[in-house]
Symmetry: C2
Subunit: 239 residues, 2 copies
């Protein structure tokens, strides 16, 4: 399908630190899979004989209770890793929210390779620590923020990520597309979709954001949005 050398996530995925020879070996055990928007990639509890990186598109990690209540526990963007070495069954549902392409490795060969290739294990550790930090920030959002602050937090997170990807300049209004439906946003934030809709409308009415259609968001003043999110004005950057 594609050479690792010109892979769009070459420098951010688990393989980021690999040397050319290591990359060759990975190359030989990788294969691509595509899923359409809305498809379930993996069901929680199912056998999972591979691990993978998201190459393009967006997927979600969700947990569901017997009575149908669901909570999103991860948002998978390009370069994010799916699956856990050493675990044979999926712990969460993985659903494609847009069309996606994943770069897969059969689990066993990947595990073997991890033992012999510290560069992979190192990178995976780093990525896992980042995800843990994100999960902890998210816990504050879920546990203590109001509905309005939750929405503002989510917009800030998505906006910041988009800015990191596409721009480096810091000034001017930020524009991006929401990759999530109102319902998915509700599952992310522990709200109902009605509340999400109301709070998005309220932020719009108050001029914190501008909407173009239902999905395109313009943020005239990022600091204002961060204030609404209840975050430190400087975003609390860590090194």
């Amino acid at each position: 399908m594609q050479e690792c050398a010109d892979c769009p996530i070459r420098h951010r995925a688990v393989c980021a630190r690999c040397e050319p020879d290591e990359l060759d070996r990975l190359d030989s055990i990788k294969y691509y899979r595509s899923f359409e928007a809305g498809q379930t990639v993996i069901w929680s509890g199912d056998a999972m004989d591979f691990v993978a990186s998201v190459v393009s598109g967006i997927a979600t990690l969700t947990q569901t209770m017997e009575d149908g209540r669901t909570q999103m526990v991860g948002l998978l963007l390009p370069s994010d890793f799916v699956g856990r070495p050493g675990r044979s069954r999926a712990a969460y549902d993985v659903v494609a929210t847009t069309d996606i392409v994943m770069c897969c490795f059969r689990r066993k060969p990947f595990e073997d390779m991890m033992v012999r290739t510290p560069h992979i294990a190192q990178r995976l550790l780093e990525m896992t620590l980042d995800e843990l930090d994100a999960a902890r920030e998210w816990m504050l959002v879920l546990g203590r923020k109001t509905a309005r602050e939750k929405i503002a937090s989510l917009l800030a997170i998505i906006g910041r990520r988009d800015a990191a990807l596409y721009l480096s300049g810091k000034a001017g209004p930020l524009t991006f597309d929401l990759p999530l439906t109102r319902e998915a946003m509700a599952d992310y934030l522990g709200l109902t979709l009605e509340t999400v809709s109301r709070q998005v409308s309220a932020l719009k009415k108050d001029g914190v954001i501008v909407l173009e259609g239902k999905r395109r968001v313009i943020v005239p003043d990022m600091n204002r949005l961060l204030e609404e999110a209840g975050d430190d004005s400087d975003g609390g950057m860590l090194s």
Copy 2:
């Protein structure tokens, strides 16, 4: 202070996989620190020139917003790891809830050693993945469970851990001490301490738990408690 060989967390902490020679090297850079119940070990944002394992006692990881709202984002038990290699400032407040002893390593030497000792990095990856799973389960609790389910979930988590530590037999009523105040439980669960108190009383009135004093909890029927927590009756074990 103590030899690694007879350290109580020797086989569960970051050093679990180390060979004798690796352990010797760790031994030479380690030092112990003690903190009293209530003491703050580290303030979020402060410089942090060490990483550490909890040897005994319990500590919490919390995040605080400017207006004082706080959310616990981690509960640190013996063998748990504190700090992040590569990061020089603490991202969270760490507070001792009981008297604790920590086994510390200066950050730089530890990082150097990690590069040269895959056994340490491997173990840290495994522990971090476990924590990420725990954080995700916690997100479901915070986002979607009712106050009663939250309390039942917390009791189930603490009860299960105690059972794993002290008993192996599966039958009979489970007894344990709550290591947290009502306020800490509230911070864990995204509730107020009044609601925690009310729901604990309600579970007691309904016979789900029995209280001896305010801290000692007896669970006559673990399955009943898990039902109240909204979990699968079998606890959803993963390999």
